[in-house]
């Protein structure tokens, strides 16, 4: 592309993007190889993936695949296949897209995910994942393992840790039996160390966005988060985040923002509409709007500590953002708004994700009250574009920007 045309874009493309593509390509090949060897598990995004990885079980992430389906605009078609099987249009569109792609892999992006030999669900993000994986199990015959992490209200009490810890021990037995493998202490330490380090560097990338101008916009983070969700605990993942962090630091040192003319800094709440996110962000970037923080990519934080690593996993994975109450979500949003010096916030109400979305009308009021900044709720979906009204979204965003620009 001629240099001039590149310069005119409101958006700065990350150089480290090519490393991201390579990492994700490798992850995909590994998934196929594992499936062929009969050693692949599908995993929910909040699952303690360090354990299967340390036990040499390959992993694939249907939620991330849902994001690909969304970006490729294949959502309506695949969701429709799930609906033909009797799954209501009101259900999570990640679930519907994956059910549709299992039914018709030949019509799915990348020909669907490689076939699983086990389905590992952790309900720390929602209760839906169990039912979704049950449905996939009915279709593929792969057994479901549920790691139950009941939602927390306040502190995690000892009986809660003991219960989750028991679930983790069961997980090790399940994987041992299913894949004829063992959990070796050395490998476990290596993988958990890599995972913790990766999350640490990712967190530094996120926090760098406190700078003005923000070195990353949320669309950058939505892409860059893929490895920390899917392949933390691998050396090449760590390498990618080190490259990203260097680039981010470079941008900060040189006063370069993710967008060329930063005027308004906003918070994004919830999963994005994958089929439209770059268009929305691009249009807003032209108006000088950047999103230095969002609740979605900040959900992958925490560290596996040195004492008893299994206890540490039991605690870290029970304390994830979506496993806590609305009050904790409001606190987190207020902290991000203050910490990143944001002027307002956009809450994307995802019709098919009840866990993330129900409650946003109340939190919007509370966040505004507590921070003094305005917010707007827009409604749509992450994968199924049939559930979204773009014109209405535009009108609402314009109304917010009128207050801020």
């Amino acid at each position: 592309m001629p240099e001039k045309a590149k310069e005119e874009k409101a958006y700065r493309v990350l150089e480290s993007h090519s490393f991201l593509q390579r990492a994700m390509f490798r992850y995909m090949l590994e998934g196929h190889a594992a499936s062929e060897e009969g050693k692949l598990a599908w995993v929910t995004s909040g699952f303690p993936v360090e354990i299967p990885v340390a036990m040499d079980v390959g992993v694939s992430y249907p939620e991330q695949y849902g994001a690909i389906v969304g970006s490729e605009k294949a959502g309506p078609k695949l969701c429709d296949y799930a609906e033909e099987l009797g799954y209501s249009q009101e259900l999570c569109s990640y679930a519907r897209a994956s059910i549709g792609s299992v039914k018709h892999p030949e019509e799915s992006p990348l020909e669907g995910l490689p076939a699983p030999q086990a389905l590992l669900a952790c309900n720390n993000i929602c209760g839906t994942v169990l039912r979704w994986y049950d449905a996939i199990s009915q279709m593929t015959g792969a057994p479901v393992f549920l790691l139950d992490t009941p939602p927390l209200e306040g502190e995690q009490l000892p009986h809660h840790i003991a219960y989750v810890r028991h679930g983790l021990d069961n997980l090790v037995s399940f994987l041992s039996k299913q894949f004829d493998t063992t959990l070796e202490e050395d490998k476990f330490r290596e993988v958990t160390d890599l995972s913790t380090e990766t999350i640490g560097i990712w967190t530094q990338c996120l926090e760098a966005c406190k700078s003005k101008p923000s070195p990353l916009n949320c669309a950058d983070r939505f892409l860059a988060m893929a490895p920390v969700v899917a392949i933390r605990g691998r050396d090449y993942t760590l390498e990618y985040y080190q490259t990203l962090l260097n680039e981010v630091k470079d941008r900060v040192a040189n006063g370069l923002g993710a967008i060329r003319d930063e005027k308004v800094r906003l918070l994004w709440d919830n999963i994005p509409p994958w089929f439209r996110v770059f268009r929305i962000m691009g249009a807003l970037a032209k108006k000088g709007v950047v999103f230095p923080a969002d609740t979605y990519t900040h959900a992958w934080t925490g560290s596996i500590k040195d004492e008893d690593r299994m206890d540490s996993i039991a605690s870290m994975y029970s304390n994830v953002y979506l496993n806590k109450g609305l009050e904790a979500k409001v606190d987190k949003m207020c902290d991000l708004i203050k910490g990143y010096d944001l002027d307002g916030f956009v809450m994307f109400s995802v019709r098919s994700c009840k866990r993330y979305s129900l409650g946003q009308l109340v939190s919007k009021e509370l966040v505004s009250e507590r921070t003094g900044v305005p917010g707007v709720v827009i409604e749509g979906d992450m994968v199924d574009s049939r559930l979204q009204n773009d014109a209405q979204i535009e009108t609402r965003l314009d109304a917010l920007l009128e207050m801020l620009l």
Partner: protein, 403 residues
């Protein structure tokens, strides 16, 4: 008794209790341990969707919240909740209820809101231990809120009452399966509804009298023992040895679905009764079979552990692990109870119902049982269309039976 009459009657009873100074705690989840609430001198009452309440939830809930929670919240906004002095919400069941409790608490901080969190994992003893501790915490929070400590004697009395109720209704369930003209499904559903609204001794007395009448009618055909055996088999969920009389009237319809209220559905199914009062012989509803066939607490060791074992011993919900077990039981029920038509109820925007129903339909079709899927909202606002669907389903089943 119609659904509306049942609501009126329960409100009357609750008012009398409130006037006597009894605190009333509302609950929404079928497996709420009534015995623990009653052990604190508090009266548990099941909260229902109220068809007369118009949407007033919009400032707090999006339209894609399930119809049940929209209705519940609207009742609160309109100040139409019947006499409750607190609500216990389940945790870790469905995402909608999980979030509703938080929303409620933030919108109405003055309301007494309790959270009782259930294990979703089918993890045997570990789940029992976890849930026992949650029950203990729940009990402590009841004591804090109402100032009345857990009473061992009241607990035992409550266990006894609940058990008498369950035992009697279980018998009626079995009788309906063996000799459908001995008791109407609507009658069973009304008892269940009344007990869930206010678990009172007087109702159990009335129930006992009905059981006597039914026993007499069964005795004429020498079916009392086989009814008891079937009750036991249902409780054990071992149906392979069940043998049914050969002269059973057809069609035999079963109803399955999540939080659908049996009386509401029984009323809807009245359209069937007009054709054949013996048609609906069984349900696998959460407020029906699943709560009624909960095993009795065993009174060994720690009381909370005892209760946890009992609650988790029920046939689990779609919100919990164990779909293959539930499907196996459905298959057994359809086969061994000679069911020839299955109505699958599905609340609108209810993830658990909507995820499970394709699997339920598949099992029925595997064993050659005809099905109809009934998408409903809590207010049954689409009653005429639903009745029409049931009616034509019944015709299809009857026709299938004649082929």
């Amino acid at each position: 008794m119609s659904n509306a009459q049942a609501t009126e009657q329960s409100e009357r009873i609750l008012k009398q209790l409130v006037d006597k100074g009894k605190p009333i705690l509302g609950y929404v989840y079928p497996h709420t341990p009534l015995e623990i609430i009653m052990a604190h001198g508090v009266m548990p009452t099941l909260l229902y969707a109220n068809p007369t309440v118009m949407g007033s939830y919009e400032a707090s809930l999006q339209t894609f919240a399930c119809s049940f929670i929209r209705n519940m919240f609207s009742q609160r906004v309109n100040d139409q909740l019947p006499y409750v002095d607190g609500i216990v919400f389940p945790g870790n069941t469905c995402d909608s209820l999980q979030n509703l409790a938080d929303i409620w608490h933030l919108r109405y901080p003055q309301d007494k809101i309790f959270r009782l969190t259930y294990p979703a994992g089918d993890q045997g003893e570990a789940a029992v231990q976890y849930f026992a501790e949650e029950l203990r915490i729940f009990s402590n929070s009841l004591e804090d809120a109402y100032g009345s400590p857990f009473s061992d004697a009241a607990f035992r009395q409550a266990v006894d009452l609940v058990q008498q109720f369950r035992d009697a209704v279980q018998f009626l369930y079995a009788a309906r399966l063996l000799q459908p003209n001995s008791v109407r499904y609507h009658r069973i559903a009304a008892f269940v509804r009344e007990f869930h609204s206010a678990p009172l001794e007087t109702l159990v007395d009335e129930l006992r009298a009905t059981v006597n009448d039914v026993e007499n009618s069964l005795a004429e055909a020498d079916r009392v023992d086989s009814t008891k055996a079937l009750q036991h088999a249902l409780l054990e969920r071992r149906l392979e040895d069940v043998s049914l009389p050969s002269d059973l009237p057809t069609p035999r319809i079963a109803i399955v679905g999540g939080m659908t209220e049996p009386l509401a559905i029984a009323e809807l199914a009245n359209v069937i009764s007009k054709v054949s009062s013996t048609a609906v012989v069984f349900d696998l509803l959460s407020f029906g079979f699943k709560t009624i066939f909960t095993p009795m607490p065993a009174f060994e060791g720690d009381l909370f552990e005892t209760m946890a074992r009992s609650v988790l011993g029920a046939l689990l919900e779609p919100t919990q692990e164990g779909l293959p077990k539930r499907l196996d039981f459905l298959k057994d029920a359809l086969t061994h109870l000679a069911i020839d038509g299955l109505i699958v109820c599905e609340q609108s925007f209810c993830d658990p119902d909507e995820f499970e129903s394709p699997s339920l339909l598949a099992v029925a079709s595997e064993v050659g049982v005809r099905t109809v899927r009934l998408p409903i909202d809590s207010e049954f606002s689409d009653r005429a269309r639903l009745e029409g669907r049931i009616q034509s389903f019944l015709e299809t089943v009857a026709h299938g039976g004649a082929e």
